[in-house]
Amino acid sequence: MMLVIAALLIWAVGWGLNIWLANGVYSKSGLTQIAVPVIFGGTIIAMWELLVRGLEVPGVILPPPSAIASAFASSLPILWGDFVQTIVKGALSGFAIGLAAALGTAVLVDRYDFLKRGLLPVGNFMAALPIVGIAPIFVMWFGFGWQSKAAVVVAMVFFPILVNAVAGLQDTTAMQRDLMRTFGARYWNTLFKLRLPAALPFIFNGLKIAITLSLVGAIVAEFFGSPTQGLGFRISTSVGQLALDMVWSAILVAALAGSLLYGVLVLIERRLTFWHPSQRG
């Protein structure tokens, strides 16, 4: 009972602190912008810990954060193996192949108007479909290894990148293209020097959608069959053993990997599209 009261107290203190910070004189400063969400997250975790202990919630329903942290720390080698299997081998290799295929197709689609009118509606339609459903078929074709996961990822990331890249390639004005023509630039010169750079902000929008999809694809595909390694395998087997602290550790790895990859994408975007108004702020 004491713990429950302590949890409510912590909530009141944390929320009060945030109200004070957010409406105070320093609310516009960068430090406050970071401090408020951090305090909020910390309060939630503290409440989770205290409530789970105070109400004696069984560990097979919701383990406390401390148990998750200790499971995470004690099984680092296993989780690292899972990370390499699912994220590096499955998601990232599929992401790279899908990116190359989608960009190649986008250039083709952009060049031939017939393809643009034919392939784009189909692509838009496919982008809305539950493509994860293809996972059982690909696992059957390419085996239980990382290859089948990469194939699912390719299928999932292809259409979002394609649709965005085609939209981006059309984002030059007639004036800019005319300027390139006065320089005597051929199709490929214009493509590499003007239109691809101009398409980059759009392409990065597609990539940001695709990077999360690639993790989803790699993890869900492992639910249909995998070697004895990988985040999806770890989650589904640990759920079967009711080892929920391990499940949460695997989810933590997936969450960290997702945020990390997204952050890397944002950094690359900032380097490559420094000229775009949204980056100059």
């Binding site: 957010a22 393809l115 009118r117 479909l129 994860v132 999360t212 993890i219 589904s236 695997a250 997702g258």
Partner: protein, 323 residues
Amino acid sequence: MRRLVPVLTVVLAIFAIWYVACVPMNVREVLTQAERAGAEIVPAAAAERRDAGALGLVLRNTAHLGASWSMERAKLPAPHQVAVELWDSTVGEEVYGRRGIVRSGTLSNRSLIYHGGVTLSATLFGFLIGTAAGVLLAIGIVQSRTMEMSVMPWAIVSQTIPIIALAPMIIVVLYSLGLDRFLPEGIAGLLPKAVISAYLSFFPVLVGMVKGLRSPDQMQLDLMQTYNASRGEVMRKLRLPASVPYLFASLKVGIAASLVGAIVGELPVQRGGLGARMLAGTYYGQTTQIWAALIAAALLAALLVFAMGWIERRTLRSMGVQA
């Protein structure tokens, strides 16, 4: 007309590639079957065939490939096989089948209509929960600066996380809580899947709704102030109507995400649904069954997004927006 011809060409090309791909994909099983029927296969030994490439086998045995498009458990079933399976497991099962709705009065548990219905109910239930939660939280975020600064960064970070990884755990935990003791039968079975659906549609709705509620510009807000409108009135009469176009854009994303959530949520519990159907097909090597379930899921997704678009057009028109 300008678009119809190219789209049809692309669709036909996809089918053509599919038919051609059936040959190398199924060549090993086809040749084994032909050999059992007494045909001469090159190379004759099964061990040699196992190591040979699929294309080489196709080129050297062109005379025996007739069965490529009619294999029982093909690695890649031909489109017409999938179409036949789709027909059999919908109309065939319900209208002519012993357990179909025509003879027994209830939907057959082997038909895709039944399984699609299970998935659809979980999707819609979850979508409603997720949308309601997203809209409410968005209103809270716009009304309270503290809430915005605390919650919004986490909402954005959570978009980068493969939330679907939580699915198996949510299912098992919700089942182990024994909800069926408190809730009516139908809802208790639906709830775990719906929670995942809700979770997936929640964030797109939240982000879109916050954007929409913020869309009125300073001039409009000032006008409301000259009318001496309270915060609640500004919300009701300006912000909420202004957010509708944004809301619908996210609802279309959300409903597709909800369907994916429901399908993935059906994987761990084999109690019906398109996801369960796919997994069962994987276990028993029934590839046409997987493909039929996949096509059914695609049709369902297209139907849902289309329905959402229809509601969007109707609503916006009745609100007087030029769409």
